[in-house]
């Protein structure tokens, strides 16, 4: 049975040890779906099931916090939510709400910080003295320290520079041994790093086998505003500009068609 499941038009499942990505253009409803999966918003349609059971009581009293602790979420631009005096305190903020003893909290913070490769004296520094990328990593550590069964990531690399972005992505892969991961992104390249890919479009999800399968749809993806690898991005622009390009997603064939199209236009 899936650890976490969304039913309805935006159905998706995620299992233990799995990284699943949800690819959607800006404005496709990624954040809403992410909040629903993390039990931070009531589903607009469908239901969210944790281990096959509804995660929220049917009607909750205002103010009562009955959100399951098994699911945590890294919100967009999560570094904006840091507040504590030291990195350690910030990462320990979540675990302190779990009534753990001090040693256990200490262990968890240590493990979380080393998972995001922030070691040494960083823990005693102020989060506001760190760089943007480092602060994003502190925020991720804060979520990891909850040791959730499912981790929801809402565009974890948004607004990071390309190098930090790649570092961040490389850090996510080993996390699958701790939590099942649902990774929301607008970039096809990032989505392709997951085991399974869902495409979120027009309020519906569609499961796509893998990266190769995904790029077959490059025409519609380019039109929808999803970030594609450069070649497909270019093909998308040229196709709307009247270039005749084949339906194939094969990179070599596409490249050749673009080169030929260019020659035809400019050699005349």
């Amino acid at each position: 049975m899936a650890v976490l499941e969304h039913t309805g038009r935006r159905s998706l499942t995620v299992d233990r040890g799995e990284i699943v990505s949800v690819l959607g253009a800006p404005g496709s409803g990624k954040t809403q779906l992410a909040l629903e999966l993390a039990f931070l918003a009531r589903p607009r349609e469908g239901e969210v099931l944790l281990h096959g059971k509804p995660g929220l009581p049917k009607r909750s009293m205002p103010g009562a916090n009955q959100r399951p602790r098994e699911v945590t979420m890294l919100v967009q631009n999560a570094e904006d939510q840091l507040f504590a005096r030291t990195v350690f305190d910030d990462v320990a903020f979540g675990p302190r709400h779990l009534n753990l003893d001090t040693e256990e909290i200490d262990d968890r913070v240590e493990r979380a910080l080393s998972a995001v490769r922030l070691e040494g004296d960083v823990r005693e520094r102020s989060p506001f003295a760190l760089s943007g990328g480092e602060r994003r990593r502190v925020a991720l550590a804060g979520v990891l320290a909850m040791e959730p069964e499912v981790l929801i990531l809402d565009e974890p690399t948004a607004n990071l520079d390309p190098r930090t972005r790649n570092e961040f992505n490389a850090m996510l892969e080993p996390l699958r041994h701790r939590s099942a991961i649902v990774w929301f992104t607008a970039s096809a390249r990032e989505a392709a790093l997951a085991d399974r890919i869902y495409l979120l479009k027009d309020g519906q999800t569609e499961e796509i086998g893998g990266a190769a399968e995904l790029l077959k749809n490059w025409r519609s993806l380019a039109g929808a505003g999803v970030e594609l690898p450069a070649l497909y991005e270019l093909a998308g622009i040229l196709a709307t500009d009247g270039y005749r390009l084949p339906e194939t997603a094969d990179a070599a064939a596409l490249e050749q068609a673009i080169v030929h199209g260019w020659k035809d236009r400019h050699d005349r």
């Binding site: 919100v75 939510q81 903020f93």
Partner: protein
């Protein structure tokens, strides 16, 4: 992001009588309602103040459902505080439940304060619902214009007020965002937990930082467009119509009637 209901204070487009009125007249109207109800120590004066409020409401009928929704939480709050006031005020005992004594004086005070609070919020909401923040700021600038002779930087103060009003919906959105983010990492940000220092910081510090950042960006972008480099002309061309004159006279007369009912033997029955 989490819950988007009708937002307090935010302008609703429309073409009602109140919408068309000069913002300065509306400002006067809100001032009359607020002063009137604060003066109204007697039931007769209170009735007169409420009649004025009702008349103003009828001139923007389409807004009343939205207004009622905004006021509902306030009514609940007023009732709760009313009950508390009724038994903490000493005086002639009305009835008792165990050791708690409810007094007549407390009841009188609770009813008066409750009615005053309700009408003040109602009157000022009518103003902000029917007046775009920038017109409202311009009207305030006009009214406070005389302070310029005392070297008060009226225009800058008003610009700050206007920006503040415009950013209220954004601030609400920001609060909801921070709450969701902190709950996502295990915080219990219910009303009770706000008493705990750690949770309070988790809410207030990101909020404060976000607003400082926004303020800084806004200042930069305004200065990039040469704000504050020279004398400014006014964007607003005032149209003081006959309706405005008539409305203002009615407003001032009503205020006089309320004052008369409150302070002279006329209102004593």
């Amino acid at each position: 992001m989490i819950a988007s209901g009708p937002q307090l204070l935010s302008y609703q487009t429309g073409t009602s009588f109140l919408h068309r009125l000069d913002p300065r007249t509306k400002l006067l109207g809100a001032a009359v309602i607020v002063t009137g109800v604060l003066l109204a120590g007697r039931p007769s004066a209170m009735v007169a103040a409420y009649l004025l409020g009702a008349a103003a409401g009828l001139l923007a009928r389409s807004l009343l459902p939205a207004l009622a929704r905004t006021l509902r939480p306030l009514v609940i709050l007023i009732i709760i505080f009313g009950i508390i006031i009724t038994f903490v005020t000493p005086g002639h005992a009305l009835f008792r439940i165990g050791p708690i004594v409810f007094t007549q004086d407390g009841l009188d005070l609770a009813v008066r304060l409750g009615l005053q609070a309700l009408l003040i919020v109602y009157g000022t909401s009518l103003l902000t619902l029917t007046t775009p923040p920038l017109s409202l700021a311009a009207a305030m600038e006009w009214v406070l214009g005389f302070l310029r002779w005392f070297k008060v930087p009226v225009r800058d103060i008003i610009a700050m007020v206007a920006i503040g009003l415009t950013f209220v919906p954004l601030l609400i959105e920001e609060v909801q965002k921070v709450i969701a983010a902190q709950r996502a990492r295990g915080a219990d940000l219910s009303m009770m937990s706000l008493l705990d220092e750690d949770s309070m910081g988790a809410l207030m510090i990101p909020l404060l930082l976000a607003n400082l950042r926004r303020g800084e960006e806004l200042a930069d972008s305004m200065e990039a467009r040469l704000y504050g480099t020279g004398p400014r002309s006014s964007l607003v061309v005032w149209h003081w119509s006959r309706t405005d004159l008539f409305t203002s006279i009615v407003l001032l007369l009503t205020l006089a009637v309320i004052a008369a009912l409150a302070f002279t033997p006329l209102g004593k029955f």
